[in-house]
Amino acid sequence: MSKEKDQRVNYFPIIMSVLVVMFAIFFIFSILLYFSKFNLAKVYWTLLIGAFGTPGAIAQTLIRMCPILFCSLGLLIAFRCGMWNIGAEGQLYWGALAATVVGVYVTGLPALFHILLAIIVSFACGGAWSAICGYLKTRFNANEVITTLLSNFIAYWVTFYFLKFHLQPKTAFNPSSLPVQPTAVLPIMLKGTLLHAGIPIALACAAIVWVVMNKTALGYSIDVVGSNKSAAAYGGIRVNRIILISMFLSGGFAGLAGMGEVLGIHRLLIRNISPNYGFIAIAAVFIARLSPVGAILVSLFLGGIMTGGRYLQTTMGIPIHLVDVLVALFIVFMLLQPIVEKKFLPTPLIGIEEKGRD
């Protein structure tokens, strides 16, 4: 997936194919809306206003962008390594659990160190959870798709177990933990909104991931392992180690997403802390073509859709599930983007690269 430096990237087919696929998605979506007898123009306008219309809406969009961005940063590392990690959701839950434990039960630290500790622990927990699946792959050759998929549910129920039987105070009726210490709460960036410090952290992480993937030996090794394992081994790269590292980093960033949700927004652990952010991020990474910069834009876009959808529900009474449908259409149809892209290529040279990915 990495672009060679000496080869000029032709952006025309990429942009055209994305536009075509987007058109197809919104066409199908419009058919659905049309048959549900909603006013198309009004729905789209409300969606836009709800996502970017007011400062408050933009803040909400950014807040929803944050976990998607974290998860997609993690996923892109694993995907580039050729590991189909679809366990970001579960890794997010582990991160959230770890952040809660640190946030609630560690006391007496100054704010900066407390937050730093929470970040490190949630990164390590999410990463370790993901690295288990990586280990099962390297040691036993267990299909990582299945193990990471199922690890989502394991993580969800284990988190719920800790929440229900250990973190939940006896007096509470609903499963939720104690609120985190004030020192662990991510500070609000802008008065009057909920813009928490997780968003700049996410952007900084995107920059770090970009540097690691494009400028370091580790990033290069990950790309090589992803495109051809035997060539990588022949070139002296320790393939299993790279797989483990990439899975650890992948889960770690997903864990940070959980940390952001707990310390930034809810300030305590609740049962359903993530509305499938980990799965939505898969769409984000695909649309972003496994690039960190693209991931920022795409997660902003998806965050906007989710926020707009909420607004759509409150103003027009359209069920929030409509947004899930739209996101799902994105996941499915963005798979077609490489195929459409080939139609726009002047020469079929880049077909070689595509074949290498499979």
Binding site: V145, F153, V158, P319, V325, L335
Partner: protein, 307 residues
């Protein structure tokens, strides 16, 4: 005596609910054998149950509800087939997308339609003579008709997979699509048919869930049964009979949780987690030698490629 009746109740409930996992798992097994991984089973199921529910609540015709659920599941799996077999997209991502699509679409349509009638349960059909066997008669032979159909389907699937030429082709498409193609069989067609079988069985399983067990529809009510089905397939080593045993075993765990909650031996979230954990362990154990696992699982077949 109280213990005995509790055991009978749990086992009966497990047999009844195992069908909702068994049907999709049988379909998933066939499609995985042909090399197509249907992660979206959960999506097929919930759409199938919604379709069956709406039809049944609107017209009162139970059997058409089952047919419609099956057809809806099939049409979703057709989408999966077009994307993954013809267009050679990534099966994992497509499956996740179809799962979320089914989840969102079912919730959306349910809210729009807004029917809230509780449907009538399937009547219990006891099998004469057999039902009088102590314990087993009560657990196995006093159920609604779909339980028997489910067990009969296990038999059919076993025969088709192991005793007919098509079963071999199905296996060939998943193990070595290139050689299957070389001998002159249409790999794409085999995979299409297998995927459609998976969709149909999942839709049927979803319909059974609404009409047979829960008698209502609620958002996200399949509650991971589609994923449990994937677990069961791996757990059962792609063999219909073992899949049946696995489905019963996992449903037993599921029905135990109500009692365990009362007895408080194991915390119930950990019990619900068990099937997933066991499957991961099984997966790790069988992967080195591959065993029964289809060799080209989740790999699109490129004609003329070195696949």
């Amino acid at each position: 005596m109280e213990f005995y009746s509790a055991v009978v109740t749990i086992a009966t409930a497990a047999v009844m609910s195992s069908i909702a996992v068994l049907l999709p798992a049988l379909g998933e097994g066939v499609s995985e054998r042909s090399g197509v991984l249907n992660i979206g089973t959960e999506g097929y199921m919930i759409m199938g149950s919604l379709a069956a529910y709406i039809w049944y609540a609107a017209t009162g015709n139970m059997w058409m509800g089952f047919v419609l659920g099956t057809l809806v599941g099939m049409s979703l799996s057709l989408a999966h087939a077009v994307f993954c077999i013809t267009l050679k997209c990534n099966q994992v991502i497509c499956g996740i997308g179809i799962w979320l699509l089914g989840l969102g679409l079912s919730g959306y349509l349910f809210r729009l339609v807004g029917l809230a009638t509780i449907t009538e349960k399937l009547p219990v059909t006891s099998i004469p003579l057999l039902k009088d066997i102590p314990f087993f008669g009560q657990v196995l032979f006093q159920h609604n008709i779909f339980v028997y159909i489910g067990f009969f389907l296990v038999f059919i699937f076993y025969i088709v997979i192991y005793k007919t030429p098509w079963g071999l082709l199905n296996r060939g498409a998943g193990d070595s699509p290139f050689s299957t193609d070389m001998v002159g069989h249409n790999v794409f067609l085999i995979r299409y048919v297998s995927t459609l079988i998976c969709g149909a069985m999942s839709g049927l399983g979803g319909a059974y869930l609404t009409i047979g067990i829960l008698t209502r529809f609620s958002e996200g009510m399949t509650a991971g049964r589609g994923f449990i089905a994937i677990c069961v397939v791996i757990f059962g080593g792609w063999n219909p009979v073992k899949i049946m045993i696995g489905a019963f075993f996992f449903s037993l765990i599921d029905s135990l949780q109500l009692y365990v909650q009362v007895w408080s031996i194991i915390p119930y979230p950990l019990l619900i987690m068990m099937p997933y954990l066991l499957t991961v362990i099984v997966m790790a154990a069988i992967s080195k030698k591959m065993g029964n696992m289809p060799r080209k699982l989740a790999e699109p077949y490129l004609r003329g490629g070195a696949s």
